[in-house]
Symmetry: C2
Subunit: 384 residues, 2 copies
């Protein structure tokens, strides 16, 4: 491609190419299919110790190592690593950049291809087909096959990662021993769709988005994407967390000014927005938020979530966080009821915390002990 490249497009990622492509729910085929991924730990001889980690909306495959773009620690180093709940001394951990993402898997910023898979010299942009959570999972399944793993010890993920866990369990129940959907739900709620729509409207409204063709002049819709990130970020935190972090603390003097940031929380949000645009693609954000909005397990299974899990051999651990208002405990309870109705093997924990949705990424010892113990139990039963 000859156009200006965003920083995330200039990176080299470990990836695998599937020349035959991937047929999507919408009817289109992405050909070839590229899946970028990282692994941690060693696959044992029996190939029985693999744990697939599914990332959230703005996550990526760099789970437990320095991020190549930001230089920050991996997004789940609190949970994945030597001696951690997902113990890389014991398990072989796989994480793939989701289909539609912007860190090396097939997605809007990658080079567009024709029906025969020939490169067209421009990014997909908004011509990238609509995808679903199930499409993401199908792409991961190709990777798992490619790695020669017939059965995963566990599939684990939070938020949109949890949606993928549920879709994995519904679609490939024989390919996994255990499933840990965290801070998630069996559908995306009207309120969550609404918040996503605000973010999309902000991106669409940015003239630098240029109908999705912003690569043409090397500018990105930074303001729109930043606003999208700001509103999403609020939903990841609780009121208590925001208050503890910032309260009504003023920046510097308490002068009444019209334009400047006045409160600490404003500067923080603006900072969140401005750093995000350097590492994430606006068209990927549109694609992935839409995939989340489409997610509704019941509608894929005759209107009943339980039907997705009937006869499932999988052991489930469902986790919610008490102050999470994006995926509130009530939605996890509904999921647990459906799993029980399907006679599935399910445990449920609600972690008491005031950290909001983000708690699944943070230092939550009770959650970490529960997840670690759950995986250990699965490993023992599987003879790992």
């Amino acid at each position: 491609m000859t156009e200006a490249l965003a920083p995330f497009q200039r990176l080299e990622h470990q990836s695998v190419l599937f020349e035959d492509g991937l047929a999507l729910d919408c009817g289109a085929v992405v050909m070839p299919l590229k899946v970028a991924y990282r692994t941690y730990g060693r696959l044992n001889a029996a190939r029985s110790n693999a744990v697939l980690v599914c990332h959230a909306l703005t996550g990526d495959q760099y789970v437990a190592e320095r991020h190549p773009l930001t230089g920050k620690p991996g997004w789940w180093e609190a949970v994945v690593g030597p001696g951690k709940p997902i113990d890389t001394d014991r398990y072989f951990v796989i994480c793939a950049n989701v289909l539609g993402g912007c860190m090396g898997s097939s997605g809007p910023p990658e080079e567009m291809t024709d029906a025969e898979g020939r490169g067209l010299g421009r990014p997909w942009g908004t011509d990238f087909p609509s995808i679903t959570i199930r499409d993401m999972v199908r792409a991961q399944k190709r990777l798992v096959d490619h790695l020669g793993i017939g059965r995963l010890l566990a599939v684990v993920g939070g938020s949109m990662g949890g949606m993928q866990v549920l879709e994995w369990a519904a679609t490939y129940p024989e390919m996994m021993v255990a499933a840990a959907p965290i801070a998630t739900a069996s559908y995306h709620s009207a309120q969550n769709i609404a918040f996503h729509e605000v973010g999309r409207a902000a991106i669409h409204g940015d003239p630098d988005w240029k109908g999705g063709r912003y690569w043409e002049d090397g500018r990105i819709p930074a303001k729109g994407l930043s606003v999208a990130r700001m509103v999403a970020h609020i939903t990841y935190l609780s009121e208590a967390a925001l208050t503890r972090k910032f309260g009504r603390k003023l920046r510097g003097a308490s002068a009444l000014t019209f334009l400047e940031d006045v409160f600490e929380v404003e500067s923080y949000l603006r900072y969140q927005g401005s750093t995000f645009v350097r590492r994430f693609d606006a068209n990927s954000y549109l694609t992935i938020t839409r995939a989340m909005d489409y997610f509704d397990l019941a509608s894929e299974h005759g209107g009943e979530v339980a039907a997705a899990f009937r006869g499932s051999p999988i052991r489930f651990l469902v986790t919610s966080f008490s102050s999470d208002w994006l995926f509130p405990t009530v939605e996890s309870r509904a999921l647990v009821r459906a799993l029980n109705a399907a006679a599935a093997n399910v445990s449920f924990i609600e972690i008491a915390t005031d950290k909001g949705h983000d708690a699944f990424l943070l230092d939550e010892p009770v959650f970490h002990r529960a997840l670690g113990g759950f995986l250990q139990g699965a490993a023992e039963r599987a003879g790992v």
Copy 2:
């Protein structure tokens, strides 16, 4: 002014001009001060039956009559009118457009003046000084004086209107018999500031905002203001209300599309955004949201809310709504505790509803009976 006028600037409003201007908390003086207002019902001979209604962020003085711009009913006709809780057969109801607003009171879209009050042939725009809720209340006080009313029977308002009620009670306790702050709090929370900041960032990011000078070419920052309205609108509803209204209902076919609105809730929000920009000024939105963010009664009274009300002769009715997450009941309870600590006369009701913050504007019979009874009691004690 020679520039293109927005629809709300072409209206004629009933108003009063105070040539000596208004000194603001920030140190600036708005000269002259214009207060646009509407009244309903008749002032009795004793001038003792006046009820001041304070409007919310995007409300205006057209409480109980057809709106001159939208043609819709007044914003509080459920509550104000003949035989309604605020009974215009019995009370003389006053409502002023807030200082900083865009329906005729001094504010960003009005003509800018110099220190001597001479018109400068352009709107204030972002040169309008920073204002506070207390400044709004001081402007209303001038109107009440002008109307020859020494003591209001009650000051009533919801949301930002409730902030004004509290500020009235703290600043002019001898000028009112009763106060009904509704769906409000004694301070604006970090989360609410954060949501406001998203809206402001969306307006600032719209190139048509032009640093606030959008009147110069007759365009308005419609996309940014629309996004601001969309995110605010979500916070006015509850998840239950959104789900009841829209759930995950798709518009028309369930085709997977990239750009179009797919869910009903999206179309609704976009509609809310697009209609709002025709009736509201972006710079007013910036000014007023900032005034709300500054609001913190405790900080104005030595760090203690109770200090604002010590020895107050006013009777208070504090109302919250169970599903309001913008001004949750817990904040009303804190206010009630402070009023009790000040030995004030206070009643508190939490209305059970799933309609969210917007409930204060809607058909809520229990709330309406309580408010009507409260005013009637105040009127009887005041000999009205």
